[in-house]
């Protein structure tokens, strides 16, 4: 069926991003917005905005019945959940299935099975995809026994989590109970599921993920990998494709493993299979699958020319996969910098506030996904992402150089941002050489590294 009208159950840059593709495809958009986002850029771009509740996510963006009610009232054909919020809550997909509204994403059962990280681990094993040592946490005593066999350092992770939230690193066994306690509270508040599990921490690892598209009937293609190793507190800051310095055989094995995992469950829509690559051994472990569009999808779009929102919509409309594996021919390299309202000098504390003035970069090879302009208020209730700068070039050096210039040309006044952090990383020799591990950002801060601030005067 042709989708004529879509409800966007999200906010911020991803809402504006989805609206752009819908416009190009001639699809009407209805934005489900909280009170705080009534005057947002997305609200202005959408054909219609429906206010679904107060600013607090639990009273609006996380309310399944409010979102479904808005969809029914606006008589839309489908709901696009974006990322975060309800995108990976089976309840929304389930409610859509019951109400006859198309959910642009996987089935409720697929979301549930990858959303439960312990079940996902079991599925990875069944698909012959390697996993890191670890397992479920019961009592403190059981956890301690398991921790001894897994070895330290280890990670406490949320069973219902993802994207690094609810994740705690434990160096000493005596710190385990408190880490579990905090992780449980974070997980409970963020995902409505307080269960946690533990997993071995790979000290020198790279975070590499593979983008896949599935038709829901067992056909799955991959669209290459992304390296997301530049992270702090398990939140990605810079992503790039292809992953630099990876052997072709390792790259190929990652792609194949991702396809095996997704094909085994007849995955439907766009998804990402995340791996941790052990640098020394070129071995890799399955981390999780993200059953949604990913924040960093634009780097893959830049090199493949594929519009992921358009493909998601086509799959949801029953058109299946419009691309075959050999149609996917990545060109060049692309990087993404996430510009956040946060203060690197204060341990990346979020810095909500009022944006007084902005000046965004542009030009050849530069793409900007944002919801921020002069006058935008950044409320404390949501994430701190202001914009994503994507730079594409014929090779990594060219993309990096474009990104460096784009960051220098960016100015944001009124809120503290991490722009200086980005220029510091881009001018760092280790990063320029390519292939840093996830310990790169912490190391930058530990040793007396040179910080770099750059502005166009």
């Amino acid at each position: 069926m042709t989708l004529r009208r879509i409800l966007i159950a999200n906010r911020g840059e991803i809402a504006t991003r989805i609206i752009r593709t819908c416009r190009r495809l001639g699809i009407e958009t209805v934005l489900a917005a909280s009170e705080a986002d009534r005057d947002s850029m997305a609200a202005r771009l959408a054909d219609r905005t429906v206010c679904i509740g107060p600013a607090r996510p639990s009273d609006s963006y996380l309310k399944v019945d409010a979102v479904v009610q808005a969809a029914l009232a606006a008589r839309v054909d489908a709901i696009h959940p974006g990322y975060g919020f309800l995108s990976e809550r089976p309840a929304l997909a389930q409610a859509c299935e019951e109400q006859g509204v198309i959910f642009i994403g996987p089935t409720a059962a697929q979301i549930a099975s990858v959303g439960d990280k312990l079940r996902a681990r079991a599925q990875a094993q069944a698909a012959d995809v390697p996993i890191a040592p670890g397992g479920a946490v019961g009592s403190t005593a059981e956890a301690t026994v398991l921790a001894r066999s897994v070895g330290l350092p280890l990670l406490v992770k949320a069973v219902g989590g993802g994207g690094g939230r609810g994740m705690k690193r434990v160096e000493r066994l005596e710190d385990l109970p408190q880490a579990i306690h905090l992780a449980e509270s974070e997980a409970g508040a963020a995902f409505g599921d307080a269960r946690v599990y533990i997993e071995r921490f790979v000290t020198r690892g790279r975070h590499i993920e593979v983008q896949v598209l599935g038709d829901g009937y067992g056909q799955v293609i991959h669209l290459g990998e992304r390296d997301c190793s530049v992270q702090r507190r398990y939140q990605k800051l810079i992503e790039e494709t292809p992953a630099p310095g990876l052997s072709e055989s390792c790259r190929h094995r990652l792609h194949e493993a991702a396809i095996r995992f997704a094909a085994r469950m007849a995955y439907r829509g766009a998804g990402t299979v995340e791996f941790l690559v052990d640098l020394e051994h070129e071995a890799f472990y399955f981390l999780e699958m993200n059953a949604r569009i990913q924040v960093e999808h634009p780097v893959t779009e830049a090199v493949t020319g594929v519009d992921f929102v358009a493909e998601q919509i086509a799959i949801a409309a029953g058109e299946g996969l419009r691309l075959r594996q050999f149609d996917v021919r990545p060109r060049g390299c692309a990087l993404e910098c996430r510009v956040n309202a946060e203060d690197p000098a204060r341990d990346f504390q979020p810095s909500p506030g009022h944006v007084r003035a902005v000046s965004w970069p542009g030009g050849e090879g530069i793409r900007l996904d944002t919801h921020v302009e002069a006058g935008t208020v950044i409320p404390p209730f949501y994430d701190s992402l202001l914009a994503k700068i994507i730079a594409h070039g014929a090779d990594r050096d060219a993309a990096l150089e474009r990104m460096w210039q784009a960051v220098a040309a960016t100015r944001i006044q009124g809120v503290v941002t991490n722009l200086a952090f980005h220029s510091t990383v881009l001018a760092n020799r280790e990063f320029q050489a390519g292939g840093v591990d996830t310990g790169f950002v912490p190391r930058l801060r530990e040793r007396a590294a040179i910080s770099v601030e750059v502005h166009l005067a």
Partner: protein, 149 residues
């Protein structure tokens, strides 16, 4: 802009090998500041100085408050008294606390930040409601500085 990221990496190396902490450069309509991060940390050791910090805080409150101190919100966000909904609160009135005892959580932009007592003593009053939006510096709890039994 003619100064490339690679050029700046070279300049950073020069600064690294020099005895200077900071380098500012203006050319081609471009303003560049390179700073040794050790330079920033060199200024901070005076702040967490264990000896001077408690002295400073005990001097600040009004004379009548000499025996109690406020635990204030370190940042704006939603305050939670318990680790998860339905769980017992981290502390109650009467609980003994150490400097690093967690007394609550503040959620801001989806991040959970543990709030620590910052002082040794006993909770005598809980000022902020569970689930309330608290502003930076808002008093959350009152702690008597009497040594816990």
């Amino acid at each position: 802009m003619t100064l490339t990221a690679k050029d700046v990496a070279q300049i950073a190396r020069l600064l690294e090998e020099s005895s200077f902490d900071e380098l500012s450069l203006e050319l081609d309509g471009l303003k560049l500041t390179l700073r040794r991060s050790g330079a920033a940390t060199a200024a901070t050791p005076s702040e967490p100085d264990a000896a001077s910090a408690p002295a400073a805080t005990s001097a600040a409150p009004a004379p009548s408050d000499e025996q109690t101190s406020c635990v204030r919100a370190p940042l704006l966000g939603t305050f939670y008294r318990a680790p998860k909904p339905g769980a017992p609160p981290f502390v109650e009135i009467g609980s003994g606390v150490e400097e690093d005892t967690i007394i609550g959580i503040i959620e801001v932009m989806k991040l959970m930040n543990a709030v620590r007592a910052g002082t040794r003593g006993r909770v005598v009053d809980v000022l902020a409601q569970d689930g309330a939006l608290v502003e930076y510096g808002e008093p959350l709890m009152r702690v008597s500085r009497a040594v816990p039994a």
